[in-house]
Symmetry: C2
DNA sequence: GTCAGTGCAAACTTTTTGCAACTAC
DNA sequence: GTAGTTGCAAAAAGTTTGCACTGAC
């Protein structure tokens, strides 16, 4: 687990909970610690599985509830994918754009710094932008390969 | 209903079905005709409702199946929103730049031509880009106004 | 001690599937 | 005629909710 990252982000959570007069439960911090160990996107079932692995049982209701809190406190961002909802640490999501294959649903990250700056520097009237998500849809190389083989047969 | 638009798009569907050796059923063309009458995004239940209104009953299974075909033939694009899946005619979806208020959930469209061109001209290795969606999250002017009034009280 | 937070299971929503009936070709 | 489509209902998958118990404050 990335303990440096966890230390920084847990401070954000602490301040958020204090500001909202919510309780600092063991579950909330353990879930956050677990999320910090994911290198990229994850869904509820992967998170639940990882928590079971370290013998820390949390109910589904609590996971959903906690991720709503993390989303509201801008610790994670939510991506709606075809199968289920994916989450990602916001600090990771800020550095990239998403490539989504419309055949298999796989998500890849694209890092284009100038595009990132272009979007962040947009002047939008009557709107306070906080963060963004760019999804580029298409066919990944694996599926393209499969499709081209199908045609040959 | 926009019959000019329907005439053009039904031609795309006809060619797609012939190419794939699939049947040109009444349902498929009536669903397309109905979709052409939506000015913007719609979901399955809105589409179903609109079809009932014109006394053309179609089962849910057929609607889902048909929209998969329309997506594959690039007639519609799919947006995963929090509540349910939204669809939109691809020709309407020229601007995929959405502003989403994190307080009230309102969606506004942003038209920034240079950003659009920037994204469309991206060179992405091992990925065939087809279309994109940019979601910028933040606070809309209405909610900002409400928040500022709250603080005064 | 109090009430927000949690666990569990049931409920709910959206989407998919199996199968019989139908129809475009 | 036949195989692709459709309708219907049941099933599956993901998420939310109700309620009793627990523990942070």
């Amino acid at each position: 687990m990335d303990s440096k990252r966890y230390t920084d982000i847990s401070e954000i959570l602490t301040q958020y909970l204090e500001k909202k007069k919510m309780r600092k439960t063991e579950e909330r911090f353990m879930i956050l610690r677990c999320i910090c160990s994911f290198p990229s996107h994850f869904d509820i079932s992967e998170l639940s599985q990882k928590l079971e692995e370290i013998k820390f049982h949390v109910s589904l209701a609590t996971l959903y509830n906690t991720l709503d809190i993390f989303e509201d406190s801008h610790i994670v961002v939510r991506h709606q994918s075809i199968q289920s909802t994916l989450y990602e640490l916001k600090i990771l999501a800020e550095t990239h754009q998403h490539l989504i294959c419309t055949k298999c649903g796989a998500i890849r990250d694209l890092k284009n710094v100038s595009l990132k700056q272009n979007i962040e520097n947009l002047k939008i009237p009557r709107f306070n932008a906080e963060y963004y998500a760019l999804y580029i849809y298409g066919i990944c190389s694996k599926c393209k390969y499969k499709l081209s083989r199908k045609k040959q047969i």
